[in-house]
C-alpha cells in the first residue's frame, strides 16, 4: 500500500506559503524590505542562470570557430589568394568541404566572421587592380560554395534589425549581389540605419535608377557615417567604370545642410570641370558650411579658372573661411597668388590668418619661399618666431595640419 500524503508539490506549496507569510505580522517597512530581499535573491539566481547560459553558448561558438579556423583558414586563404577567378569546382578542390547536413545559423555566422577577418587581412596586401579583378570574384565564389549566401538572404528577410544591418554591411564589403525582391522590402524600412545602408547599396548596384533615393533626400537623418558611405559608394562606382550623375542638382534639392555640403565636396572628387565651375554659385551662399565646402572643392580639384573668384570672395568671409580660401588658393598652386598671400600676411588683423598665409607662401614653390624670406627679413625680431615655426614644421605635421584644416572647415 502506497499512501502518499505529502507530495513534492505540497512541499513546494508549503514553502511558498511559508515565505509569502513570513513577516506578515510585521510593520509595513519590514514587509516591503522582505519582499525586496526575496525579489533580489530570485533576480540573482536568474542572473546566474543567464550568465551560465551565455558562458556555455560563447564557449561552444569559440570552440567551433577555433576548430573550423584550424582546418579551413589556410584553405580559404588559398582561395582568396588565387591569381585567377575560380570556378565552384576549383573552389571545391581547394577547400574540400566535408559534406554535412544543413548547418545552424550561428555556425554560418561564425564562418562568415572568419571569412570577413581573412578578407580584411588579405585585402591590405593586394593592389586595387587585383582586388577588383580577382579578389571580389573569389570571395563571392567561396561564399556561394559554402552556402552562406542563402543564409545571408534568409537573415535579410527574417532576421532582427542588428542581423540585417550586419548582413547589408557585409554585402557592401564583399560586393555581393542581393536579390532585388529581398531588398525592395527594405528601401522604406522604418529603421533609419538599415534604410540608409540599403539605399546606399542600391546606389552601388542598381542600373535602373541608382540615384533616386539621393533625390528623395535623407529625411533629416543624415549623419557623418552617411558622408563616408556616400563617398565610398561613389568611389566604388567610379572604380567599376559605372557613370556618376551630375551632383550639384542633388545639392540644390536637398534640405539638409550637411548633405548639401557633402555633395558639394563630392563634386571636387568625381565631377567634370564644368560642374566644378558651377560650384562658384555657392561662394555667396548664406550657409557657412556650404561656402567652406565650395572653397575646399575648388582647392581640392586644383581648378585654376576659379582662383580669381576665390581671391575675390576672400574679403567677404569670416576669419575661419578666409583661412579655407587661403589653403584652397595654395592648393591650386597656379603660381600667380604670391601677391595675394603677401597682402593677406601684411594686412590681416588675425595672427592665425597671418600664420596661415605665411604657411601657404612657404609651400608655394620657390617663388613663394623667396617672398616668404623677403617678408621675414622685413619683419620685426619679435615676430621671427612665426617664420621659424613654419619652416620647422615637419612634413608629417605639415600634412596633418593641412588635412585637419580641411576637415575642420567641413565639420564645424
Amino acid at each position: 500500500m502506497h499512501d502518499v500524503y505529502f507530495t513534492w508539490w505540497d512541499s513546494l506549496r508549503y514553502y511558498y506559503y511559508y515565505f509569502e507569510h513570513a513577516y506578515a505580522e510585521y510593520a509595513f517597512v519590514v514587509q516591503v524590505s522582505y519582499f525586496m530581499s526575496v525579489f533580489s535573491v530570485v533576480s540573482i539566481f536568474v542572473m546566474f542562470l543567464i550568465m551560465l547560459s551565455i558562458w556555455e553558448r560563447r564557449s561552444r561558438h569559440k570552440r567551433y570557430r577555433r576548430k573550423y579556423a584550424k582546418y579551413h583558414e589556410p584553405r580559404f586563404e588559398q582561395v582568396l589568394n588565387a591569381p585567377t577567378k575560380l570556378t565552384q569546382a576549383e573552389c571545391h578542390d581547394l577547400v574540400q568541404r566535408r559534406p554535412t547536413e544543413r548547418l545552424k545559423k550561428w555556425q554560418y555566422r561564425e564562418q562568415l566572421g572568419l571569412i570577413t577577418d581573412i578578407y580584411e587581412r588579405l585585402r591590405q596586401e593586394k593592389t586595387t587592380e587585383e582586388v577588383r579583378r580577382v579578389f571580389y570574384c573569389n570571395v563571392r565564389v567561396l561564399i556561394a560554395y559554402l552556402g552562406i549566401d542563402v543564409y545571408m538572404e534568409d537573415l535579410l528577410r527574417e532576421g532582427v534589425r542588428a542581423d540585417r544591418l550586419y548582413i547589408m554591411q557585409v554585402t557592401q564589403q564583399f560586393h555581393l549581389k542581393v536579390a532585388e525582391s529581398t531588398l525592395s522590402r527594405l528601401y522604406d524600412c522604418k529603421i533609419a540605419a538599415l534604410r540608409k545602408t540599403v539605399r546606399i547599396y542600391y546606389m552601388w548596384m542598381s542600373r535602373e535608377d541608382p540615384f533616386r533615393f539621393l533625390e528623395e533626400g535623407y529625411d533629416n537623418d543624415f549623419v557623418l557615417i552617411d558622408t563616408l558611405m556616400i563617398h565610398h559608394v561613389f568611389a566604388m562606382r567610379r572604380g567599376a567604370g559605372k557613370p556618376l550623375p551630375p551632383l550639384l542638382p542633388y545639392a540644390e534639392s536637398c534640405t539638409d545642410e550637411n548633405l548639401r555640403a557633402t555633395m558639394i565636396c563630392e563634386v571636387g572628387w568625381w565631377s567634370s570641370d564644368e560642374e566644378v565651375h558651377e560650384v562658384k554659385r555657392y561662394f555667396n551662399s548664406s550657409n557657412e558650411l556650404c561656402r567652406a565646402s565650395a572653397f575646399s572643392t575648388v582647392g581640392q580639384r586644383r581648378y585654376v579658372p576659379l582662383e580669381g573668384e576665390l581671391i575675390k570672395a576672400f574679403s567677404q568671409q569670416t576669419e575661419d573661411l578666409r583661412r579655407v580660401v587661403l589653403r584652397s588658393v595654395a592648393a591650386i598652386g597656379s603660381g600667380k597668388a604670391i601677391d595675394f598671400f603677401e597682402k593677406v600676411a601684411c594686412q590681416t588683423s588675425s595672427d592665425t590668418t597671418r600664420r596661415c598665409a605665411l604657411y601657404c607662401l612657404w609651400h608655394y614653390g620657390p617663388a613663394g619661399k623667396a617672398a616668404f624670406e623677403q617678408l621675414r627679413a622685413a619683419d620685426t625680431p619679435e615676430r621671427q618666431q612665426v617664420y621659424e615655426y613654419i619652416q620647422m614644421m615637419s612634413p608629417t605635421h605639415a600634412a596633418t595640419y593641412h588635412g585637419m584644416r580641411m576637415q575642420a572647415s567641413l565639420q564645424q
Partner: protein, 473 residues
C-alpha cells in the same frame, strides 16, 4: 517627542532607500536598453574601419594627456597612445611642471626637439614654456607641451587644448593605457548620431593585467582586494550609472580618465575650470549648460567598450587622498552649478540628473553617517528592533550584491574587463566583502573631502606613486 522624531526619521530613511533602489532598478533597465542599442549599431566593424581609413571625411582626434611626475610610466603610456588603430589623430602630452625626469625621459626616448611655436591662449592656463616635437617620423604624431605647474589637471588639459589641432579631443591621463581601438570605439557614436558633444568610454584598472610594450596582452583580475573593490565600483559607475543615464541623454559626467569631446563646444564653454578638483564633471556640466543656453541640441553618449586601463592607487593612503579629492570636487562642482537644478532650460541635466546626484550622491555620505550614529544611539538605549534591523540589513546587502552581479553580467556581455571566467568569479567574491570593507572607507573620505572644502583647507592635487604594470617576459 523622541519617539515621533525617530518614527519620522525611520520613515524618511526608508523612503529614501526605496527611492534609491527604485532608481537603481530603473538604471539597470535603461543601461540594458543602451547595450541593446549598441548591439544594433554598426556591427560589421572591419567594414566601418575600412570606411574610416579610406575616407577624406574621417574626423581627426587629439589625445590630450597631462603628465605630472610620471617619469616611471610616461614612455610606455605614450607608446600606447601612439599605437592607436585610427587613421587621423595626434597625441598632445602636457608636462605640467614635473619635478622628476618626465620631460627628460620623453625627450630622450622620442628624440624630441624644441620647436618655436606661436601659443595662442584660447583658454586660460598657467604660462606656456615650450613645445617639443619628435625628429623621428614614426613619432610624427607626438607633441609635448611644457608649461608651469597649475596645481590641477584641468589647467594642464586647457594648455593641451590650446595646442590641439583636431575638432575632437580625448581627455585622458598619462598613466592610462589605451586599448588600440579606443578612439575608433569612441568615434562611432559621432558617426552614427547627430549633435554628439561628448562620448565616454569604459575605464578599468590595469592592476592584475599583463602589459607588453604599452599594450595590455592579458586581462585578469588583481589579487589584491583594494583594486578589486575599485574595479567593481568602476563597473557599477560606467555600466550601470552612466550607461543608464546615457539612454535618456542625461549624463552628468564623462570620466576624466577617458572621454572624447567636441573641442569647439569645450572651448566655447570656457574650457576646463582651472581650479576644479572634479574637472571632468565640471566640464561636462558646463558644455551641456552652454548648449542649453544657446539652444543647441546635444547628445552625451556612454559606450560599453573598455577603452582605457588605469593603474589604481596601490595603497590605502593614496586611495584616501584620491577619494578625499573627489569628494571635495563633487561639492565644489555643485557649489558652482547649483543654479541649474530644477530649471527646465537645462533639460534632463537640470530636471533630473543634477537633483538626483545631489540627493543620492552628494548627500548619501551625510545620510549614512547620521544613520550610523542613530543606530549606535538606539543600540545604547536598547531601542533596536533586531528582527526589523536584520531584514533591512539583508535587503541592503542582497540588493547591493544584485547590482554587482548585474554589472558583472553586463561587463561579460560586452566582452569587457577580463579574459578569464576566474577573474569574474574573483570580482564577484570581492563584491560580497565590499560593503563591509571598502564602502565605509569611501564614505569617510567623501565626508573628509566635504569638510576640507567647507573649512577652506588648501587643496593640492598630490603626486601618485606608480608601480607600473606587470611587464610580460
Amino acid at each position: 517627542m523622541r519617539d515621533i522624531i525617530f518614527t519620522f526619521y525611520g520613515y524618511a530613511v526608508f523612503f529614501y532607500s526605496m527611492a534609491l533602489m527604485a532608481s537603481y532598478i530603473a538604471l539597470m533597465w535603461l543601461a540594458l536598453y543602451s547595450l541593446h542599442k549598441r548591439f544594433n549599431s554598426l556591427r560589421n566593424l572591419p567594414y566601418v574601419r575600412r570606411l574610416l581609413k579610406e575616407s577624406p571625411y574621417t574626423p581627426g582626434v587629439s589625445i590630450v594627456a597631462p603628465a605630472y611626475n610620471e617619469a616611471e610610466t610616461v614612455v610606455t603610456d605614450v607608446l600606447s597612445f601612439l599605437d592607436q588603430d585610427y587613421p587621423c589623430f595626434e597625441v598632445v602630452i602636457v608636462n605640467d611642471g614635473s619635478k622628476d625626469d618626465t620631460l627628460k625621459n620623453l625627450i630622450e626616448h622620442f628624440s624630441l626637439v624644441k620647436v618655436p611655436y606661436i601659443y595662442v591662449e584660447r583658454i586660460v592656463a598657467k604660462p606656456f614654456r615650450a613645445l617639443y616635437r619628435s625628429t623621428k617620423p614614426e613619432y610624427g604624431r607626438l607633441t609635448v607641451v611644457d608649461k608651469e605647474n597649475g596645481g590641477t589637471k584641468a589647467d594642464a588639459v586647457n594648455a593641451g587644448l590650446n595646442v590641439a589641432m583636431y575638432p575632437y579631443f580625448v581627455n585622458t591621463d598619462v598613466d592610462c593605457i589605451l586599448s588600440p581601438d579606443a578612439i575608433y570605439n569612441c568615434i562611432r557614436p559621432v558617426l552614427e548620431q547627430k549633435h554628439v558633444i561628448a562620448v565616454s568610454g569604459v575605464m578599468t584598472m590595469s592592476n592584475g593585467c599583463t602589459v607588453h610594450e604599452g599594450h595590455i596582452v592579458k586581462r585578469a583580475a588583481p589579487w589584491s582586494p583594494l583594486p578589486l573593490f575599485q574595479i567593481g565600483e568602476y563597473m557599477r559607475s560606467f555600466l550601470l550609472g552612466k550607461m543608464g543615464w546615457s539612454a535618456i541623454n542625461a549624463m552628468n559626467n564623462v570620466s576624466g580618465g577617458y572621454g572624447l569631446f567636441d573641442k569647439h563646444v569645450a572651448i566655447a564653454a570656457g574650457g576646463y575650470g582651472g581650479t576644479s578638483f572634479a574637472e571632468d564633471m565640471d566640464m561636462l556640466i558646463r558644455m551641456v549648460g552652454y548648449c542649453c543656453d544657446t539652444g543647441r541640441p546635444y547628445r552625451v553618449v556612454q559606450i560599453a567598450d573598455t577603452c582605457c586601463y588605469t593603474e589604481g592607487p596601490p595603497n590605502l593612503k593614496q586611495i584616501i587622498r584620491q577619494r578625499v579629492r573627489w569628494g571635495r570636487g563633487l561639492l565644489q562642482t555643485f557649489s558652482q552649478h547649483y543654479h541649474m537644478m530644477f530649471r527646465r532650460k537645462y533639460r534632463q541635466l537640470g530636471m533630473l540628473t543634477l537633483p538626483y546626484t545631489f540627493v543620492f550622491e552628494l548627500l548619501a555620505p551625510v545620510i549614512e553617517l547620521v544613520g550610523f550614529i542613530t543606530f549606535i544611539y538606539l543600540i545604547l538605549i536598547h531601542a533596536v528592533n533586531w528582527t526589523t534591523a536584520v531584514v533591512i540589513f539583508a535587503l541592503v546587502f542582497i540588493f547591493g550584491l544584485l547590482l554587482s552581479i548585474v554589472v558583472i553580467l553586463y561587463d561579460y556581455l560586452v566582452g569587457g574587463s577580463y579574459d578569464t571566467r576566474w577573474s569574474y568569479l574573483r570580482q564577484f567574491i570581492a563584491s560580497i566583502f565590499e560593503p563591509f570593507l571598502y564602502h565605509p572607507l569611501i564614505v569617510c573620505c567623501s565626508l573628509k573631502g566635504y569638510w576640507n572644502y567647507l573649512s577652506g583647507k588648501k587643496a593640492v592635487w598630490g603626486e601618485m606613486k606608480r608601480k607600473g604594470a606587470k611587464e610580460q617576459k
